[in-house]
């Protein structure tokens, strides 16, 4: 059960991308998402594709993991592609049969959008595949740090995230335990019509909620007794260090942007 969860998304390996500062990776993904929209012809899309392929090869992530990331949105890609073909009526007419007509502009537009989608998903999955959730949290906290000036509870949000991550396996175990206990009392989770199955979740959720609240309270007491009183005056055990390779990656993204601006038509 645990393997299927989001936490299982991280693929441990020792690649350049794995060792990079999570802040650099987060920035990279964020900027890449913006930069993708600069491309508007074959050359610029080609350039983006090359950049993505380079990133993938550096990450040493087996391709099947990336494919798994793409699978759920495959339908969306095909769907938008078809929409463009059907409704964008620009350029040369390529094919016509009754009301059905394909124009060159539509074909190209559909292709571009599909490529854009694919690249976006690939790059964002690279982030989660090469970075542990806790490093992502640390990176976020650091990057959003300046927002503290405007009273954004950045530290609290990061702590909430990390506690949530820490308790996922614990709650999964508990769910399994409650499920077994309820099955022993005659609740049927796996068969019957949908309506019945949804109903059978109630005896699972109620005990889970009750015990989660109890856990939360005990955790709060334990944290308080260990001297937790908010982010002020707190030091951090996990240190992020920005290396030359991180700067280089940022520079390469900068170069990519410049080239895209030059190449776009």
């Amino acid at each position: 059960m645990l393997d299927k969860m989001i936490i299982g998304r991280y693929v441990p390996a020792n690649s350049l991308l794995h060792r990079m500062d999570p802040r650099a990776k987060l920035l990279l993904v964020f900027l890449f998402v913006c930069v993708v929209f600069l491309a508007n012809n074959f050359v610029s899309y080609g350039l983006l594709a090359v950049f993505t392929i380079l990133l993938i090869s550096v990450s040493k992530i087996p391709l099947r993991y990336l494919y798994n990331g793409l699978k759920p949105i495959f339908f969306l890609i095909v769907f938008t592609f078809l929409l463009h073909i059907l409704f964008t009526k620009e350029g040369e007419l390529l094919f016509e049969y009754g009301w059905f007509a394909i124009y060159k502009g539509g074909l190209i537009q559909g292709l571009f959008i599909s490529i854009r989608f694919t690249l976006l998903i690939l790059v964002t999955s690279l982030l989660t595949l090469t970075t542990t959730p806790i490093s992502i949290t640390d990176g976020m906290e650091e990057l959003l740090g300046p927002l503290k000036k405007w009273k954004m509870p950045v530290h609290e949000l990061a702590l909430m995230m990390s506690i949530a991550l820490r308790f996922i396996p614990t709650l999964m175990e508990e769910t399994e335990k409650i499920m077994k206990a309820q099955t022993a009392r005659g609740v049927d989770f796996s068969s019957g019509p949908i309506k019945e199955r949804v109903k059978s979740i109630v005896p699972l959720l109620v005990p889970l909620f009750v015990s989660s609240f109890k856990r939360a309270e005990e955790l709060a007491t334990a944290m308080e007794s260990r001297g937790y009183r908010g982010g002020e005056g707190r030091t951090k055990y996990r240190q992020l260090n920005w290396k030359t390779s991180d700067s280089l990656l940022m520079v390469s993204l900068g170069l990519l942007t410049v080239m895209l601006v030059l190449l776009r038509s």
Binding site: E218, A222, S225, R226, Y228, Y237
Partner: protein, 279 residues
């Protein structure tokens, strides 16, 4: 007489919305370097006592002094740095995502610098023999291991006192022994005072001193030897006496000359063997 480290005087405490006082005029002292066991039936006020000592609750009246510092809402954060607490449920006190993050949590709160933190985290994990599990996630650890990590988190802050609030009650016998052995070693090495709140009378038997709580009052105070002499009275309070003490009494009743004062099974076994070889 050793130095008084903690002293409670005339503590009265009532939970909101309850008619009976959870603690009713409780006074006692705790001395430096001792192992004090607080026993009592459910609802006797023993866990409330622990909460008061750590400033998680404040008494309605009476004073608590720790190391010549009065425990008030202002001094509570200083006091918490001197008193480490290990709770009952191993899962619900594990804050970090990995073992080392959890041990570091208290240090982070105290604002210790990163270099010192790394040193102390490793030191503390060495002491509880969990240094091989630095990057392990909590759900891969046994209950006993989690409690040892919790102890590491406490000693990393170099406290004077450790409170074990039924810290072994959710563990299997092996985990329990692991945890108690760890605390015993730490106490020897670092002169730490241990306050152990427990149901387990075998555990209490190894303490230097015992306090029996009943219905929010301090019922009896003394060495385990003295306390277990009470026998019938303890049973009337819903407590039991250790097996070895029971067996000794039964043997004496049946005319076997065993001397009193065996609090642990090992001692009794040794004595019985000696007796046997003399016959």
């Amino acid at each position: 007489m050793r130095k008084k480290l903690v002293s409670l005087s005339n503590i009265i405490f009532k939970y909101e919305g309850q008619s009976r006082n959870a603690l009713d005029d409780v006074s006692f002292d705790i001395h430096q370097g001792e192992w004090l066991a607080i026993v009592g039936h459910n609802g006797s006020g023993k866990s409330t006592l622990a909460k008061l000592l750590n400033g998680l609750q404040f008494a309605n009246s009476g004073t608590i002094t720790i190391n010549d510092q009065r425990l008030t809402e202002e001094s509570v954060w200083d006091v918490r740095r001197k008193i480490g607490m290990v709770f009952q449920n191993p899962d619900n006190q594990f804050v970090g995502t990995t073992v080392q993050d959890d041990v570091a949590f208290g240090l982070e709160n105290a604002g210790v610098s990163q270099q010192v933190m790394v040193e102390r985290v490793h030191g503390a994990l060495n002491k509880v023999k969990m240094n091989a599990f630095l990057n392990q996630e909590p759900h891969h650890l046994s209950g006993g291991q989690k409690q040892r990590v919790a102890i590491a988190g406490v000693i990393a802050l170099q406290p004077d006192i450790i409170i074990l609030d039924e810290a072994t009650s959710m563990l299997d016998p092996r985990g329990r022994e692991e945890v108690l052995e760890t605390v015993r070693e730490l106490k020897q090495e670092n002169e730490i005072t241990v306050i152990s709140i427990t149901h387990d009378l075998e555990e209490a038997a190894k303490a230097d001193r015992m306090i029996v709580m009943n219905q929010g009052r301090l019922y009896r105070e003394g060495t385990p030897q003295d306390i277990f002499e009470l026998e019938e009275e303890l049973i009337a309070l819903g407590l039991d006496i250790p097996f070895s003490v029971k067996l000794t009494k039964e043997l004496q009743k049946n005319g076997v000359h065993v001397v009193d004062g065996h609090l642990t099974e090992e001692e009794l076994v040794k004595d019985l063997c000696e007796l046997h070889s003399m016959m």
